[in-house]
Symmetry: C2
Subunit: 177 residues, 2 copies
């Protein structure tokens, strides 16, 4: 079992996130906007389903990093999406976690702190293939490091299948072999 202080800390962060949702609902209730509240609830349930699916992919080290990312100090917000049916990705865990950790650090180094930056990570779990799509919108102060990173050789398990890069956008598709 996790240490007491760690449990308290995780619950503190989670409580804070959910209280923000509550405040949003409360505000829209005061303004008599039931449709907006419905939208908020739908979005929150959707996000929870994403997180729940993500938690069942058998890649705990990566998932724990993803789920706690926005509690840390980064220059971009992370959003997670999971499309398709849950699969066991444990075979890829070590390599994927290593790759992700480096990539995410790189983005932090390269993106402009004064801008609202956003990274959407989509797990596309199709029958034939698993894709992880990284879609960054915001502002980079330097893209040369990411360019070099994209040129580094692929591994056997992880292949960068598509990539696009500009100062305002980065799109990258990783397939798991």
């Amino acid at each position: 079992m996790a240490k007491p202080n760690e449990i308290i800390d995780i619950l503190r962060h989670s409580r804070h996130d959910w209280l923000n949702v509550m405040q949003l609902i409360k505000g829209n209730l005061a303004l008599n906007r039931p449709e907006r509240i419905e939208e908020i609830i739908r979005s929150v349930i959707q996000q929870s389903q994403n997180e729940s699916k993500l938690s069942s992919l058998n890649i705990p080290a990566l998932v724990a990093d993803l789920l706690t990312f926005n509690w840390e100090n980064h220059c971009y917000e992370l959003e997670i999406e999971v499309i398709g049916d849950v699969k066991d990705l444990s075979h890829y865990e070590n390599e994927l976690h290593e790759w992700y950790s480096q990539f995410i650090k790189l983005l932090d180094q390269c993106c402009d702190e004064g801008t609202e930056n956003h990274l959407l990570v989509t797990f596309q779990l199709l029958e034939e293939e698993v894709k992880i799509i990284f879609d960054f919108q915001g502002q980079f102060k330097d893209i040369s490091v990411i360019e070099s990173w994209f040129k580094s050789p692929s591994s056997e398990l992880l292949v960068i299948a598509e990539k696009e890069l500009s100062v305002n956008e980065m799109f990258c598709v990783v397939t798991l072999n």
Copy 2:
């Protein structure tokens, strides 16, 4: 930092609890009951404030047990209330945690599983004195063990100042010296 699987597990439980609140709000929105939604939000915010205060008392082992109690298999529901300003209770942590763990186990042994049982634990943090009040409502199948437990000698730090016991109710005030 906690292990990835532990983080995922804590977040899974927390998400489950909050989604129940969302469903409740969603249901009342469909029934066009804004007053009921306001009530739910007020109660949830109040509970969060209790948990947040509890988390600041510097008694992490006990607090982690309290905050995760309802996720485990027990024959009663636990509710937490914190009245007054936050204090540093670290001096009492070991003794209080030990005492609580035994007491809570005892209640699990004694209470009737077929009934809806409820334990309200109130931390009353007054200027002069800290009281912890245990208020059980439900059904005991055997109260003799609790009776004996109440007769066991108090410690220097922890004193059972008041107690009442019947088959349907248990009320017990512990003061910290």
